[in-house]
């Protein structure tokens, strides 16, 4: 069974971290993953940096620019991750924009992911329709989960469509925003989390965007199965590098 699916079957609130590969230093990718595994993180999204990340706020953009300046490339990332399954048992997801994947070749990219032991992909600018028309058979051939986003503006009908096309979890964007730009959740978020939770979808919901501490983590997971921390994790890496991730994790989920 796909590692993501197994993990989601555990009766716990999932804590997922996002970090940009090759940041703050090119060689930090694997040490960061090891620190995360040691800190009992449930799920990790490895960011494949892109020059024009239009769904991201300044924190993740800057980390991507830095990683590219460090020399990170798709090929480099695959090399760094070649032996990752010797050390890491957490489910791993690669999150990136579609153009670098397209240039690598979607089939070749997915094949590499499968070989390394990557469990799923999040490609925010590969929309549902394109995925279903052109790429779904490739993802399925390599056993990769594709994870779609929904937002507070996504209609119920489309949420159901996305649920039907998903096979791991649904990435629930907390607010209408790019990453890292909102502080705290209000009643409208809680209403939205509950509304979608009550839809009885087949896939679990994991909330992302705007989660940065224990309070936001607890709010986000009240009605959902987990939460993803991106920009706040990058800020930690900017200040400390891979060291001390366990402290950061404890501050969110004691």
């Amino acid at each position: 069974m796909n590692r993501i699916v197994s993990k989601l079957k555990e009766n716990k609130k999932i804590l997922s971290l996002y970090f940009t590969a090759g940041y703050p230093n090119l060689a930090d990718t694997l040490p960061t993953l090891k620190q995360m595994e040691a800190a009992d993180v449930d799920l990790v999204e490895i960011g494949l940096p892109f020059s024009d990340p239009l769904a991201d706020g300044p924190t993740i953009q800057n980390s991507s620019t830095q990683a590219l300046n460090n020399g990170m490339t798709t090929q480099k990332l695959f090399e760094q991750l070649a032996g990752v399954r010797e050390h890491i048992n957490m489910p791993l997801i690669i999150m990136g924009y579609f153009n670098p994947v397209l240039q690598y070749g979607v089939d070749a990219f997915c094949a590499q992911c499968a070989q390394i032991g990557i469990d799923g992909l999040i490609l925010p600018d590969l929309p549902l329709e394109e995925y279903q028309e052109h790429y779904q058979p490739i993802f399925e051939k390599y056993g990769l989960a594709n994870i779609f986003l929904i937002t507070p503006q996504t209609s119920d009908a489309r949420i159901r469509q996305i649920d039907a096309a998903s096979n791991a979890f649904i990435y629930m964007v907390s607010t209408a925003s790019v990453t890292g730009s909102k502080s705290g959740f209000g009643p409208e978020q809680t209403t939205y989390f509950k509304r979608v939770s009550d839809m009885g979808l087949k896939n679990p919901l994991i909330v992302g965007f705007g989660i940065k501490d224990q309070e936001t983590f607890d709010t986000a997971t009240e009605y959902t199965q987990g939460a993803i921390i991106g920009s706040a994790c990058i800020k930690h890496l900017t200040e400390n590098g891979p060291q001390g991730i366990d402290t950061f994790v404890k501050s969110v989920r004691p």
Partner: protein, 617 residues
């Protein structure tokens, strides 16, 4: 006898038929009128002798014959042999292989017509295939054609041949939807043309040109037009909407409503009124006499530089602000590179009293200070884009991020034929006013709607999309797109996307874009700030890849020289973007009687500092 042949010809049909069967109410008599050079004259015969067919073919210089009787395969074979005999050449001194080839190509085509009923045996076609160029399928009726009834086109589902065919018989406005469905179906794979006749007549032989024009326009969009966007915004393999889910509701709303809103009479009325009274349209089509003499061809300039705000950009911003109002939006965002689109957006926001936020790269803000000042005077907030390379592509990213953050009340006015569907198509439709005007202006001046060539510069490509729009599906009109080569295509400082780009995704659209092998988008360079976009609109990517458009890249130096030449010969200071289009005159030889339209997309006031620095004025 068709009594209004010339008017019908003006509708730019590909073929016109002349009936040489005397019993017909529409039989042709008298003199052949002068037709547009690209219209093919087809003689329609019913069991005529080969001698008669040949005689009429020569007499009227027919481009083809349509056989509407019970002509046999053997008849077709004999006729074909006669028609392909090289005509007697008066001077046979230089009958080269080339001219012999030409004659073979130009031999009149044979179209064999069949009356199709429910029992039609398609296997009889086989024997004709070697001796005919096209088949024509008409309704089985009392007369050989012209019965005015449609047959069941689904019979063609099992069409066993690859010979292209004309579909005929009772095609008219009332079955427009059916014909569109048919054309979109696999059964139409080999459908070459539609044959329109009695359904468009007010009396036998008298065509209702208005009804014909309306029908032709609709039928050419979108089903028959391969160079326009399909319903998902694809031009061939390019286009689409590669957007994060956060943008989906806004883009889906726009996609669902834009065509409907644009078709509303009140929208059209307001749009046309503003184009006329506020923008100052129609912009003149000016015959550039001295430039024409210099290059020994007939050059017309489409004067978009005379529009309010000094360029074509305002055509689109007027259209989009009216769209935004009808969508109930309160807040407008835009990106700008050199500031032209920012100024055009700030202008229409002031006109409509709407909030306006313009994203502009920090570097561009520094080098385009006058336009920043204009936008501020017009009440816009100019927000510097601080990410990435801090130029146009980053300003576009920031505008998209703003839209993600403000999904309810905001409309994003994209300034070119780029971005996710429906933007490329919507912007092209607003800019199409350029070629709509060229058509009637040229008809007034030259007696023809079609120039031989249309030339326009391409950054994202909105002025080019507007100048090409009406001509996209008329292969007889040459389309020349001019890109900025910067310091040379191979210099590493260039914006020639067709030469340097590869298929990829930028700003929500699949298109050609300049990128590293790893898929990171690179920064283009051109002396002209309006042409340094790393991608190109998906329409243009398709025009390039299909070969429909000729793409020429022009260096900074050649563009500057051409700009100065236009000043000296015609007293017009062009925008440096437009100067690139003029530099084509040095690169490509046109014939003396060619009619060449150059889209003069903007005026050069904004570029004065660049001209001053470059020419040390």
């Amino acid at each position: 006898m068709n009594r209004n042949t010339a008017e019908v010809d003006a509708l730019a049909a590909d073929y016109l038929g002349f009936i040489f069967w005397e019993p017909s109410k529409r039989a042709f008599q008298g003199k052949m009128p002068v037709l547009a050079p690209n219209t093919k004259k087809i003689g329609v015969f019913v069991d005529a002798s080969i001698k008669e067919v040949l005689q009429k073919t020569t007499e009227f210089d027919l481009d083809g014959v349509q056989l509407h009787g019970s002509e046999s395969p053997e008849y077709c074979a004999s006729l074909r042999q006669e028609l392909t005999q090289p005509k007697k050449v008066e001077s046979d001194v230089r009958l080269s292989a080339v001219s012999a080839d030409r004659q073979a190509v130009e031999a009149p085509v044979i179209i064999k017509a069949f009356a199709v009923g429910s029992t039609f045996d398609f296997s009889i076609l086989k024997a004709f295939e070697a001796h005919t160029d096209y088949f024509l399928f008409d309704t089985k009726g009392k007369l050989p054609g012209g019965n005015g009834a449609a047959f069941d086109w689904t019979l063609l589902q099992d069409y066993p041949s690859t010979t292209p065919f004309f579909l005929s018989g009772g095609i008219g406005p009332e079955n427009l939807t059916n014909i569109q469905e048919f054309l979109a179906s696999p059964a139409a794979a080999h459908c070459h043309a539609l044959d329109l006749n009695s359904k468009f007549e007010t009396a036998p032989g008298l065509k209702d040109t208005q009804a014909l024009e309306a029908f032709i326009t609709i039928i050419r969009t979108p089903n028959m037009q391969t160079y326009h966007a399909d319903e998902n915004g694809y031009y061939g393999e390019f286009g689409g909407a590669y957007i994060p889910e956060m943008l989906y509701p806004n883009v889906a709303e726009l996609k669902a409503k834009y065509l409907e809103i644009m078709a509303e009479p009140s929208f059209q009325e307001e749009f046309q009124q503003l184009l006329k009274d506020y923008v100052g349209r129609p912009s003149p089509l000016y015959f550039a006499k001295r430039l024409s003499e210099r290059y020994n061809t007939k050059i017309y300039l489409k004067r978009e530089d005379l529009n309010h705000t000094g360029a074509h950009k305002v055509n689109n911003t007027i259209g989009q602000i009216l769209m935004a109002k009808r969508l109930g939006k309160k807040r407008i965002i835009a990106e700008t590179g050199a500031g032209q689109h920012g100024v055009a957006t700030a202008t229409v926001c002031a006109l409509m009293g709407m909030e306006c936020i313009v994203y502009m790269g920090e570097i561009d803000i520094a080098r385009q200070a006058p336009n920043v000042a204009r936008m501020k005077m017009l009440g816009a907030t100019v927000v510097p884009a601080l990410s990435g390379s801090r130029t146009l592509k980053d300003a576009t990213n920031e505008a998209i991020r703003d839209w993600i953050n403000n999904p309810i009340d905001t409309h994003y006015i994209i300034g070119s034929v780029v971005g996710p569907h429906p933007y490329p198509d919507m912007v092209a439709r607003f800019q199409a006013v350029i070629s709509e005007e060229i058509e009637w202006q040229l008809l007034e001046k030259e007696g023809r709607k079609n120039p031989d060539y249309v030339i326009a510069c391409v950054g994202g490509g909105s002025n080019a999309a507007g100048a090409f729009y009406q001509y996209l599906d008329r292969p007889e009109v040459g389309i020349i797109a001019v890109e900025a080569a910067g310091k040379g295509v191979d210099s590493g400082e260039s914006a020639a996307t067709s030469a340097l780009g590869k298929v990829g995704i930028i700003h929500g659209s699949k298109t050609l874009l300049m990128q590293t092998p790893d898929g990171q988008i690179t920064e283009p360079y051109s002396i002209s700030a309006g042409l340094d976009y790393p991608g190109v609109g998906p329409m243009h990517a398709h025009l390039f890849q299909s070969g429909r458009g000729e793409f020429i890249s022009i260096t900074d130096a050649d563009a500057m020289k051409a700009g100065l030449e236009l000043c000296e010969l015609e007293g017009i200071i062009p925008a440096i973007e437009s100067s690139h289009a003029f530099a084509v005159l040095e690169k490509k030889q046109f014939k003396p009687d060619d009619v060449v339209v150059i889209n003069l997309s903007g005026r050069g006031d904004k570029d004065l500092n660049t001209y001053i620095d470059y020419f040390k004025l």
